[in-house]
Symmetry: C2
Subunit: 293 residues, 2 copies
């Protein structure tokens, strides 16, 4: 199967698992769940789900367990977007070309929709067809990555640096926590579904954190080079907010160079550890480098 | 040991476990975690933690596992209070005699403090010294109780009934979800730590949902009979909001009668199932009926 067909196959697996888990965790009578569905099924590349599934496949793991883990990671990611968009946070009116959750459903409902999705993520992981040891490890990894030493910490740092410029090192710490931790967790959940060993997990972490940082660097570049239509949200917002980004620190060309180096490094680590089985994840890393939306 | 000494012993166990888990899950540099600590260690009776520990003891379960589960339930309860107090929700400025979290730390920090506590609850459960089967069951039970078919659903119903009066049946559905589900989950996690069977878990559920409802009925009564100093928050707020409560539906005397009947029923079920080992939980139910703050 070629890369695009394989990506589409993973995407279909993720969408099916998400639909099943939404049916299981949500409540038909609830407007909060309607809001959660609006955001959860509002498009998106499902990069985290695909990472989880591809790592599991690379290691010959339990695909059904990984499908549940992939759905849980996407739920958790979706909660973070809904809460980030709230007026007291980034106050974003648009997300993926549509009104953000609180614009469409009101603030209280959006807050609860985020809370529901975060909770449902752990309900989904704990109900996965993996073994109890795997499911516990999955909850452990995802909660660790999403909490006060991971994504929430990145969000907090990000808010702090809206008020003062960040150094290159601080910017990397923001991204490592705000995006990297969850992307790594997605990949690690694929590894959990395959009961991977420490050495395998370390190689996957090096790959995932690099890919996560590339993802952010490209975001920063697209904020100044893409059109609003491509992104489905206003462009130039970082510049307008006086925010430190890879582009303000290094310029567009050098930023692209850094992203290229990170991608090369990530792919090298993976190839050394897993040989030809790393092919899909290598191509995935390259495609994230070249994306224009 | 008499009831009060036993309660204090459970409370000490819960506080110790909470302090350990906060150290493990939180981040010293984070103001979000400072806010989470402010709310988590701001007093409170820790009824849920005590329930969890007492049920585990009644069934001769693993106390160390139950201590972790108790801490997780309290973290989850604390998140719900922080988010409930936010301006877009109940907009409460005071909680337990002090400024509520967003009043003390600002809205963005309070939102993230709630998110962190919810996440840390699952980190705590998954890192408990219980078996993997127990820890997975614990995550499953708590997430189910806290989500779109439990606490969040109760919160949503509660907000809806601020706009129109509720019937007696609807009011019970609000309470069953908003408070009862989490109180039952606390008790069930004690049962998980003891690998209880279905019949035991059903008896515990009947007890827990009754106790949870009594808790709410007494809250409604205290809102019209207690002083603000006793409660640490303004009194008469339900009446001022035109909210339906047990008191508006049934009056104070009949509400007390319903609470007494529920307590008697709860204790009867427990005694039938567990005999003399149910003594502490029976006294706990009676004390919740008689509380004045």
């Amino acid at each position: 199967m070629d890369y695009n067909a394989q990506y589409q196959a993973y995407l279909n697996t993720a969408e099916t698992a998400l639909a099943q888990q939404a049916d299981r965790c949500f409540n038909e009578r609830s407007r909060v769940c309607e809001a959660a569905r609006y955001s959860l099924f509002g498009g998106g590349k499902r990069v985290r789900a695909v990472l989880c599934l591809a790592v599991c496949d690379m290691l010959n793991g339990n695909r059904n367990a990984a499908a549940c883990y992939a759905a849980g990671v996407e739920m958790l990611h979706c909660y973070s977007l809904i809460h980030d968009d709230l007026p007291c946070m980034d106050n974003d009116d648009m997300r993926r070309g549509r009104p953000s959750c609180h614009k469409a459903f009101g603030e209280a409902t959006a807050l609860l929709a985020g809370d529901t999705l975060l909770t449902a993520a752990f309900e989904t992981l704990s109900g996965s067809p993996g073994t109890a040891v795997q499911n516990t490890a999955a909850v452990c990894a995802l909660s660790r990555a999403a909490g006060a030493n991971g994504m929430v910490w990145g969000q907090e740092l990000d808010l702090a640096f809206e008020e003062k410029p960040a150094t290159a090192e601080e910017l990397r710490e923001v991204h490592r926590n705000k995006t990297g931790m969850l992307i790594n967790a997605a990949a690690q959940l694929g590894a959990v579904a395959a009961s991977a060993d420490d050495i395998q997990r370390q190689a996957i972490a090096r790959y995932a954190f690099s890919v996560g940082l590339v993802f952010q660097i490209i975001d920063d570049i697209l904020d100044v080079t893409a059109t609003a239509q491509q992104l489905g949200k206003p462009i130039g917002s970082d510049t307008a907010n006086g925010k430190t980004t890879f582009v303000t620190l290094h310029g567009v060309e050098r930023s692209r160079g850094i992203a290229q180096e990170l991608t090369d490094g990530a792919c090298g680590v993976l190839r050394a550890a897993f040989g030809g089985r790393a092919q899909f994840l290598e191509t995935l890393a390259a495609s994230l480098l070249e994306r224009n939306q």
